[in-house]
């Protein structure tokens, strides 16, 4: 025993009390290092939104001469595809950053540090924002010379739509992370397909009124349906639909709360099952 010996000078490490922006930044740095280390990953972020935009751009040009509805507001399909991508990429941004930890069997190390789950969640959300910006902004800019359409002509409502869809994407991303924590990497494909279950009901390319009556009730529980209805109102009627905005914002709060609860519940369950030490490929 060496209890009587004077205590040696120690490295002064701060306590782990409370929220720490430094730890959020540390996690963001981890994902930024990863993104920087692999140009194919960055290219992939840009590739799919660009391909989608190009396909729907040609489709729009064709429909503008064959559909009076599309002709009334050129770019309605392009705006829809780009905004849908905001939500999809927002969700993927959270889920894929989370999956990186699973793939690298790193969860045990992370949660033996003072990192708190909500600090990690905040870093995932920031990274989702970065991934969406990398993926969607080049597409939006490319549409201007290719199809003479700028989504930025939506003006301030665009910011509102963008934020509302991002929130929904984050909510879904968190719930999906929870499900992967619960079911292991065998469930990772949920991250890629889950959002598409909502695509038909979100009324991305057509009005909610097209849906069967019973499905319309489901659609109005999705923030995305209100956003796409709102987008069409801006483009066809040149009015900002405050009702849809308030409904989408309210629903986003509910969705985010639900997504966060699912994530934290399964996180705690993972600690009970010992999954943090075992998760991996």
């Amino acid at each position: 025993m060496t209890a009587a010996a004077p205590a040696p000078a120690r490295l002064r490490v701060p306590t782990g009390d409370g929220f720490s922006p430094a730890r959020v930044w540390a996690m963001m740095l981890r994902y930024l290092f990863l993104l920087r280390s692999s140009w194919p990953r960055t290219l992939e972020l840009i590739y799919w939104p660009a391909i989608q935009m190009i396909l729907w751009g040609f489709m729009s040009q064709f429909l503008m001469t064959n559909s009076s509805w599309v002709a009334k507001a050129g770019g309605v399909l392009l705006a829809a595809v780009m905004l849908w991508d905001v939500m999809f990429r927002g969700q993927l941004g959270v889920s894929v950053s989370f999956l990186e930890e699973m793939w690298s069997r790193n969860l045990g190390h992370l949660f033996a540090t003072p990192l708190r789950p909500y600090e990690w969640v905040i870093s995932l959300i920031f990274m989702s924002f970065v991934r969406v910006a990398i993926g969607v902004v080049p597409s939006a800019l490319l549409a201007i010379p290719l199809y003479h359409y700028s989504i930025f002509t939506l003006g301030l409502p665009l910011l509102a739509f963008f934020a509302l869809l991002m929130f929904m994407g984050w909510a879904m991303g968190l719930a999906i992370c929870g499900l992967i924590l619960r079911n292991g990497l065998g469930a990772e494909s949920i991250a890629w397909f889950a959002v598409f279950i909502l695509a038909p009901v979100s009324a991305i390319y057509y009005p909610v009124s097209i849906l069967p009556r019973w499905l319309q009730y489901v659609a109005w529980f999705l923030p995305s349906s209100h956003v796409f209805e709102g987008m069409r109102a801006v483009m066809f009627e040149h009015t900002f639909p405050l009702g849809h905005f308030i409904a989408a914002a309210g629903l986003d709060i509910v969705w985010l709360a639900a997504g966060g609860i699912v994530f934290l519940l399964y996180m705690r369950q993972a600690r009970r099952r010992g999954a943090l030490m075992q998760m991996g490929e």
């Binding site: 209890a3 540390a26 045990g108 190390h109 010992g274 030490m277």
Partner: protein, 251 residues
Amino acid sequence: MAEIVLSVSGLTKKFGDIVAVDGIEFALARGVTAALLGGNGAGKTTTLSMLLGLLLPSAGSITIFGEDMLTRRHRVLPRLNFSSPYVDLPHRLTVRQNLTVYGRLYRIPGLRDRIAALAGDLQIGDFLDRPFGKLSAGQKTRVALAKALLNEPELLLLDEPTASLDPDTGDWVRSYLETYRARTDATILLASHNMSEVERLCADVMMMKKGRIVDRGSPQALIARYGRATLEQVFLDIARGGDVAQRAAAQ
């Protein structure tokens, strides 16, 4: 009286009907190197996971630095660290990037200097800028140790610290741990199958079997108690549960 750094009472972990850890009790003083020794499935890794807060116990309590680990783990974790072959560091990040991320998670002051110092101590300077996934097993072990020492932990938990290492690297790691403990007065708890490692490093050995601590003492005391020549023979006695083990444990 030596300061008690870690105290465990009635610690139990059940996975359904399986009892992985069964009401274990022990305490460790500052500056001690101790070992959890036992065969596969004895409960060593499960115990370490609970000490780290990565696994919630079914019953019992863990007190580290006087704090309840179940309710105040974030006060404890900055003073604790670990290394285990069961978890990995991100393969695509370089060694320096990995250490930078973890250093920032611990909010270590003067991080660049700290990484440089550890790189010198652990001889990882030559591959600081190589991706972690491209390192050899020995190099990875040294990097994992660097990560475990970033915050200069007062309690260091090591799960099979020299598993899959060649004898030379294994010996080097053991020497480093001895130096670290002597320099910092840290408490080290390791789980191992390696008897010679435990004999060399540890003053206190807890023998685990089926989730219980079935015997405890210094390597020399255990060897004498079982009337054997080596700790490995003691281990085999306990693992096979013969008469000698029962008599010795009863003593």
